[in-house]
Amino acid sequence: MKYLARRFGFYLLAFWVAVTLNFLLPRLEPGNPLQYLQIRYQAQLQQNPHLLDPLKPVFDTQHGNILIQYVQYLVNLAHLNFGVSFSQYPASVNTIIASALPWSLFLAGSSAILAFLLGTTLGVVVAWWRGKPFDLTVTPLTMFTQSFPAFFGAMLILYFVGVEAGWFPLNHAYDYGVQPGPYIFGLPWSWNFITSVFSHAAMPVAALLISSLGGWLLGMRSVMINTLSEDYVTMAEAKGLSTLRVMFMYAARNALLPQVTSLAITLGYALTSLVLIETVFSYPGLGYQLVNAVLARDYPLMQALFFIIAVAMLIANLIADLTYSLLDPRVGVRSGAR
């Protein structure tokens, strides 16, 4: 219990630091949203210098006592009131997030789970037959695909699979005009919509997958190799159990723990890796909105998005901590005794 309380205390502190940094960073950055608009509407301003005049008083918000602003910010945050977006004025930040968040969760979640399952399974297999041709080709290959940044893989996929081969739609989350159809339990269930969503997600998910597979595979492989040298594995083999049974039920089961921890953390980090992927595929998620927000110096939207990312990471870490202590009681005991 003491361990848990301590962890919660730590996370509260981390949360406060994240929230405060989120308040300070945009204010330390030079420039303001109006100057961004001046660049965006450069050509129009040349012909019509008064185009932006109406917005001037609206965006001129960086005045006043910083402490009062900070308190105001905390109060708004407590009410989850992120204000009004500058770049999509006068839409509220909450509306923007509500429309973008499901897509990011879908993309990040499905790619992280797929990568976890595929990578871990492959890790088990390559560890079992380590040093054999399968291990010698698959392991270096995934290490190679992991080594280049996700957006680079995304651009290659966009070009070869999307533009050249034409197998998948090039952008957006589903075909325009497809009706999401009947909603059951708050989710759309039209068959056309679902197939459309999957075919649109194929390339972004593949891009995220190839860049993260290597980590899962390598992680599982190294833990597996340790586990495989344990006596009970030798014993199971000696009993004459089938290879698959020994591989998965005896060895993999016990090697899985660190992987589960990383899965929780990965889910938290997934949002950050989406930024460039969503931009390459014009996928209407949080990453897409974040790029626009940063370029447009849209502070309210930026702050909300960074807040979400920070919270996601903290929660992910917290879950990892908790499952660890639940799965392996020694963690809690040792920390508690210290």
Partner: protein, 571 residues
């Protein structure tokens, strides 16, 4: 606990493997393009901004934000479409004529009959007067003329004419007044208390495509206005959201976009050659040039001879080819030359040629005559101080960065100026511009001048005392006159220009202004400006082309966009 978890994980692992192989197999819907429905040219697929991000239906024409790609133009229209494209053209739109009376203190604008709003109500002079008066009372005056007080009152005169009363005689405001404003319906907007927070989800306009359909955060449709006053040849516009060149270009080369304002580094190879029959681009329309600007109040750059020598020591051809892929053409020293060819005074050709041509030998001769000196190839001003120059531009604006490098190199090579350069944060750069500090005393940066229906706005923006502001001062009327130069004679001439409607007199004035420009060279021209404009004639024809540039090509150019939208025809 442990047993259950790993058993579940394992089962999920096997399912996952299947799911994954399933995801790699192309599905039947996957081969269908994202925007298939414009078969037969029913819908024009186009976007006007590469930062497409919208969540709510916001079609407010008075605030440039949200889903505003075609709000101005497709939904709301101007009184007239006045453009500098194609040597300058005027198209009568909601207004059919103008007449000055009351010793040019009153402008009477006559309106088109039988125009209806998209809700069926008639469009009348009351709507026009309302638009201007509302702009003033609610501080959303797109003309700038109401807020500045230049127009003192706007009143309907009968059902189809409007009277604009002026404070002083000002004949150069027609473009601002007729072309920059979006006319809004009184019966809707009189109930809008705060236009800045009004999202206008169901817009009512006089434009060709006013009906918002199937709005999603990734795409929406503007469908035909059934009351439109001209014949329309297609059903509407589809606007997809993109926020990167990569993503937009991928859709474009697959033929999914008809019209786009996108920059492509090697447009011939990456765009036209993909489908030469249909794919086109035109990046180099006549424009005012991009200018190198010094702080003209600081010695020695306050000396016209030094500015002239600089102009003769830069290779504009190299700037065009190396920095701008040849899309932006080398400029003439007389910046007027491209956009206003009919106004050029050819008796000045000799001087213009001299100042436009790379000739460091002659430049040095001029400087020597003005008591500049060289020691070991380094240039010293008549007061004996080393001549230095610090060029700045925003980091990441890669073409400008290359220009700076070429400029700095050629100025130090050919003249011996201690020329350095720096790429700085864009916001610092903008701040330097608008305060005229330019990152230091001898800073120079890039900028453009204003452009209007006549050369008046162009010269006004860098030669008039009215546009001048001191370092760290307040900027009057936009961010012009960055170099901080003015001349009393030029100021007087410009004032004279706007008080007459006599074209001959205006030409004489512009001839004198050109002479003052060349003799003083307040700003140094480098290359013309490009406009990123690509189109495909696979589904639609009638876009502006290099030969027939009847309006500016990019979809963000208001009001040109409405002329283009109504000129397009399905193939």
């Amino acid at each position: 606990m442990r047993t259950r978890l790993s058993a579940v994980a394992m089962r999920a692992g096997i399912v996952g493997l299947f799911a994954c192989s399933f995801a790699v197999v192309p599905m039947t819907t996957g081969t269908v393009s994202a925007t298939p429905a414009h078969a037969g040219g029913k819908y024009l697929v186009s976007f006007a901004n590469l930062s497409g991000a919208w969540t709510t239906e916001n079609f407010n024409p008075l605030i440039p934000s949200g889903a505003d790609d075609f709000t101005r133009g497709a939904i709301y229209e101007p009184l007239m479409v006045i453009t500098q494209a194609g040597g300058g053209r005027t198209y009568k739109w909601l207004a059919t004529g103008t007449r000055w009376t009351n010793h040019k203190r009153t402008l009477i604008v006559s309106l088109r009959h039988h125009v209806r709003w998209s809700d069926g109500k008639p469009f009348t002079s009351k709507d026009v007067a309302f638009t201007f008066n509302y702009g003033k009372s609610h501080n959303v005056d797109l003309s700038g003329l109401m807020v500045s007080g230049q127009i003192t009152s706007v009143k309907p005169q009968g059902k189809y004419a409007v009277r604009f009363n002026f404070k002083t005689v000002d004949t150069v405001v027609l473009q601002q007044l007729l072309s920059a404003v979006c006319i809004i319906p009184e019966h809707i907007w009189k109930n809008v208390k705060n236009p800045l927070t009004f999202a206008n989800s169901h817009p009512v306009g006089t434009g060709p495509f006013t009906q918002v359909r199937d709005f999603t955060s990734q795409e929406y449709t503007l469908a035909r206005n059934k009351y439109y006053w001209q014949k329309l040849h297609y059903a509407g516009i589809r606007v997809p959201a993109f926020n990167s060149n990569t993503s937009a270009l991928a859709s474009m080369v697959k033929g999914q976009v008809d019209w786009a304002p996108v920059y492509i580094p090697d447009a011939k190879k990456a765009w036209v050659d993909v489908n030469p029959k249909y794919y086109h681009y035109f990046y180099s329309p006549p424009t005012t040039p991009l200018d190198m600007m010094f702080n003209d109040q600081a010695y020695p750059y306050s000396l016209p001879v030094l500015r002239q020598a600089v102009s003769m020591s830069i290779k504009r051809g190299a700037l065009s080819v190396k920095a701008e892929n040849g899309y932006e053409k080398p400029a003439r020293a007389l910046g007027l030359s491209y956009l206003y060819p009919n106004w050029v005074d050819h008796s000045l050709d000799k001087l213009n040629n001299k100042l436009s041509t790379f000739n460091p030998k002659a430049a040095k001769k001029m400087l020597r005559k003005a008591h500049f000196k060289w020691h070991h190839g380094k240039l010293y001003d008549p007061k004996g101080k080393r001549v230095s120059l610090h060029l700045i531009c925003p980091a990441g604006w890669s073409d400008w960065q290359v220009q700076l490098q070429i400029l700095a190199k050629s100025l130090s090579h050919s003249l011996g100026i201690n020329a350095t350069y720096d790429f700085i944060d864009v916001n610092t750069w903008l701040a330097d511009r608008s305060s005229r500090t330019m990152g230091g005393k001898y800073g120079a940066l890039f900028g453009t001048e204003s452009s209007g229906q006549t050369p008046y706005q162009y010269f006004w923006s860098f030669m008039s005392k009215e546009s001048y502001f001191p370092v760290n001062g307040q900027i009057p009327g936009g961010s012009w006159n960055i170099e901080g130069w003015y001349n009393n004679q030029a100021t007087k001439l410009l004032r004279q220009f706007r008080q007459t409607t006599n074209r001959k007199l205006q030409h004489r004035i512009v001839n004198q202004l050109q002479k003052i420009d060349l003799q003083n060279l307040p700003v140094i021209t480098t290359v013309t400006q490009a406009q990123w404009y690509t189109w495909s004639t696979q589904h639609f024809v009638g876009f502006p082309t290099a030969k027939n540039y009847y309006a500016y090509g990019p979809g963000y150019s208001y009001p040109d966009v409405v002329k283009v939208l109504t000129s397009l025809r399905p193939r």
